[in-house]
Amino acid sequence: MSGAYGKYLAIARAAFWQRLSERAALIGRIAFYCLILLVFSCVWRTIFSAPDAPGADGEQAAQRAGDYVWYLALTEWIMLSQPTLYLDIESDVRTGDIAYQLARPLSYVGGKLAEGIGDLLLRMLTLAPFGLLFARLFSGQWADGRGLALAALVGVAAALLLLLCYAAIGLCAFWLHDCTPVYLVWQKLLFVLGGLMVPLSIYPGWLQTLARRLPFASMLYGPGQLVSSPDAGRALELLLELGAWLVLAALLVLGLERRGRRVLELAGG
């Protein structure tokens, strides 16, 4: 049993160290993280410093602007930590490399997920201190330590769910060959209905109701709001919700791989 897990652990470890050597890509993500927080800290400061801003007066306004910067720091941390797993799987299917990988004594998609987890962990660990630094710098305030811990915990679960979703998108290559359109649609739905840049609480009522009923909200808005409103009960609720989605996503990935292999056997690798 430990041998079976050991293979995947070794793949995850190798991916972790390999990505660590790709410094340019990491620096690019850190720079983007910095700029997006800078821009949105300017947006929130401008909005809340306006005399006609709703419910905004002096210190309270600055506090709210700061809370939104911390919210974005958390949601972007989850998004920017994601490796482009769907592109790797798509490339294996398109080039036919998958045929060689299927012969290995381990699950193809399991190996890819292990690689993705190694990559994801590296990015999360690298981006986290920069997120704290930039958010403190641009918001002018520290977030509640308990809130950060809860948000990080839920954030890791959300990131794992996202990774599984990317694997499912990549496996669509068995039928579509080019998965980018599926990825783009998924990504944009996540941006808007997940509340990547703007918390769902700001949305118009009808859109808020719709977004809260979909899984996207528990991936970004859920962990994001924990930073400024730490609530262990809510965190547990989110973890259970994400856990249920993780099980469903894992089943979907396994089902897609099984059906995809059948297509491959019929059409040839």
Binding site: I27, L35, V39, A50, P54, L184, V192, V198
Partner: protein, 269 residues
Amino acid sequence: MAQTLLRRLRSNLGFASELVSRQLEASFALRGAFWLSVVLMFVNDLIFFSTWWILMARFGHVGGWRLDDMMCLYGITAAGYGLCVVVAGGISDLSRRIDEGDLDAFLTQPKSVLVQALASRTQPAGWGDISVGVGLFALSGKVQLETVPALLIGVLCAFTTFVACGIVAHSLAFWFGRTQTISRALWEFTLMFSMYPPALFGSGLRLVLFTLLPAGLVSYLPVELLLHPSWGALGAALGGSLAYAAFAVWLFEQGLRRYASGNRFTVRG
């Protein structure tokens, strides 16, 4: 001297328009892929713009910029960027070509290397950006018959600056070698900043946005020309873009003197 320059410019423009029309014919030939790219980019841009719609629905304005002003700003950026990737789609991998010595094939032709490299590719998704730009101009209600010339000049200025900024960022490869990541990041950061109103940023950042990342020339000056047309605004928008373009061409030519061949044997059809 002036006549020689003018003749050279006219000859290069004629050559570029021939190259672009051949590239467009090629991209229209793959009809399915073409329309898929266009529609997805259109949806992508609209979803991105929805953040502003959400913010304006809640707060009314951001630093005095209302939804219709933002439509003009975003429209100019989208149309300028779309034109840039349709007409000069080769810009996104210019630094790679320089670094890998891939300009050899262009050097053997009796035409401008820069024009050939830029117009060697077209990105159909750019039509989606252009469509969003046109749609937002129409929805903004700010475009009247008498402001159409200002709008067209504004879009041309945005287009010219995007191309020039790409040339400057990618020309770094002549001096520093493998700069693909940083060159692309500089170009994308310019695009990112050009989608946010200048009222958000302080004087220090604005200086950066008119020099290192010329978002000011891409959208702030053109949108000023559209919203408050005057001779001063026209001079600033046109003068800024043309001066930056002249600098970009000069920089590329300086870099080309340092260019080292890839010593590759390739055949171009």
